[in-house]
């Protein structure tokens, strides 16, 4: 899967949880939780959506590695 495809899935997962969000406008290194005012339930829903879309396991201990758009893309690219 290309990085663009992963980005598309990541943005889709974010906008499913926060429909009002425009993920493209989030600074790449900004903390997604703070930028979008999302809580742990929302974050878990994003992780679950990524798991379904990309068919990868994301251990709980790795959640901090997905704190920003940039770090999430790096992590997901490595795992896919």
């Amino acid at each position: 899967m290309t990085e663009d495809q992963i980005r598309t899935q990541l943005f889709a997962a974010i906008t499913k949880v926060a429909p009002e969000a425009d993920p493209a406008s989030i600074p790449a290194d900004a903390d997604i939780r703070e930028e979008l005012d999302i809580d742990s339930m929302d974050f878990l829903n994003i992780m679950q959506a990524l798991h379904r879309a990309l068919d990868i396991d994301i251990p709980e201990r790795d959640y901090p590695k997905l704190f920003s758009i940039a770090s999430a893309l790096e992590y997901l690219s490595h795992k896919s």
């Binding site: 906008t15 009002e20 339930m41 201990r61």
Partner: protein, 431 residues
């Protein structure tokens, strides 16, 4: 024959507008079926029926605003599962024009068709009146601001976001496509309910700005009543969460992502189980005395992204496994943010839990939702110094607080209640 009544979905709900009938005369209904949608200050709520039987007659037309407790329909009780469905009857035109509808006095809360807890809550409507939902029109604060700046009324527009949410780009496109329309006057007459059900599910008589104002007013009314009538007292307790969090980490590590549990589920279960031993915090203050609730329905305060909050309850919280609680919590949060809560979830909470820890708050001192008599607050789990076996060690600590009604309980019992929550969290595998 049972009457299906306009339910009370909060202490300060005086009336509601019947938006849509989802059943017609002749339809069989089972307890828990959604029979209608009602617009309140909380938005459009799916209303369940608490009598099994056959819809005999609809008494109120769609679009009619009626006081709480007025009969909306008649349900013929006792139709068994296996019996043939009643022949559909031609619906007689509902007979009550809006202006003629009057609230019945007390019998309006007759238990025959009111939700079971409503019978228990007879004269005291259940809690979170202050829990309005967002308008069904989905648009972000930025999109709303832009619409306001452009003088654009986006009502009825469908956006490119999930579930038709409107983005800034959608508003810009709308502005180009239309001549700017003036913002609707708050006092504008309510539109007639849309003829199509799919449309009417989203129809509200108030624009989003007006609904937001009504939400704020509902919260203001409930909180003012609480501070005016309830003599609050507060106690706090600090819990070492090491054991609970270690257990959770270990448990989640062995589970697929869809089955992982959040700490919030542990906290809800611990509160619910502690209430079994301390029922005075699971009651309501009624006619100058504490009345116990037979079921433990813990409500979770959920903030809405566009402002306001809702407090849907998970029914019989103490009876559910952690897995069930987690799934219920996930479901209810998702539906709360979509504005698709059900009447029982908003009307049957017996205590409220609020957690602001994720926003960095260390301790929460809440305001009780009348007629409830207690509210539990959880703060942020933070690593702080803790003395253990004579040594100062860093530990993940959680402050839990109790706001309680001093008419119903005393601080001593409040302190014991919080200590019980701690004890339960020290044995997470038993939750």
């Amino acid at each position: 024959m049972a009457e299906f009544l306009m339910p009370s979905l909060g202490a300060d709900m005086a009336d509601g507008r019947l938006v849509t009938w989802l059943k017609k005369p002749g339809d069989r209904v089972q307890r828990g079926d959604i029979i209608a949608e009602v617009e309140t200050d909380k938005g459009v709520i799916e209303v369940e029926v608490f009598t099994s039987g056959t819809v005999e007659k609809l008494l109120v037309e769609e679009g009619t605003k009626v006081p709480v407790g007025v009969a909306l329909a008649l349900i013929r009780e006792g139709v068994s599962e296996g019996s043939a469905p009643a022949a559909p009857k031609r619906a007689e035109p509902p007979v009550r024009p809006a202006s003629a509808v009057q609230a019945k006095p007390p019998p309006a809360f007759a238990p025959a068709s009111a939700p079971p807890p409503a019978s228990a809550l007879a004269s005291a409507p259940p809690p979170p009146a202050a829990t309005p939902q967002p308008a069904r029109l989905r648009l972000s604060p930025a999109a709303r601001r832009l619409a306001r700046e452009l003088g654009l009324d986006p009502t009825g527009a469908r956006g490119s976001g999930p579930d038709g949410a409107l983005t800034r780009a959608d508003i810009e496109a709308l502005a180009k496509a239309r001549h700017p329309a003036p913002e609707p006057e708050p006092s504008a007459p309510a539109p007639r309910p849309a003829p199509e059900r799919a449309e009417s599910r989203r129809a509200t008589s108030a624009g989003p700005e007006n609904l937001a104002l009504r939400m704020r007013q509902a919260i203001a009314a409930a909180m003012s009543r609480s501070n005016r009538e309830i003599p609050h007292y507060y106690v706090a307790h600090t819990i070492d969460m090491t054991i609970a969090l270690d257990w959770l980490t270990e448990t989640n590590a062995a589970r697929p992502i869809a089955e992982r549990i959040l700490p919030g589920a542990l906290l809800l279960k611990a509160v619910a189980l502690a209430l079994v031993d301390y029922p005075e915090f699971n009651g309501r203050w009624e006619n100058d005395q504490l009345v116990s609730n037979s079921r433990i329905n813990v409500g979770s305060a959920i903030s809405l992204r566009n402002g306001g909050l809702v407090i849907p309850a998970i029914l019989e919280t103490d009876q559910r496994s952690l897995d069930e609680l987690m799934h219920k919590l996930q479901d209810v949060v998702e539906r709360a943010r979509r504005g698709q809560l059900r009447s029982s979830e908003l009307s049957e909470g017996t205590i409220t839990v609020t957690s602001l820890g994720e926003r960095g708050v260390q301790s929460v001192y809440g305001v009780i939702y009348p007629p409830q008599v207690a509210l539990v607050g959880f703060g942020k789990v933070t690593e702080r110094p803790w003395v253990s076996a004579g040594h100062v060690v860093p530990r993940p600590l959680l402050d839990v607080t109790l706001a309680a009604d001093h008419r119903a309980s005393d601080g001593h019992r409040g302190a014991l209640f919080l200590a019980k929550i701690e004890k339960l969290l020290l044995e997470p595998e038993a939750l």
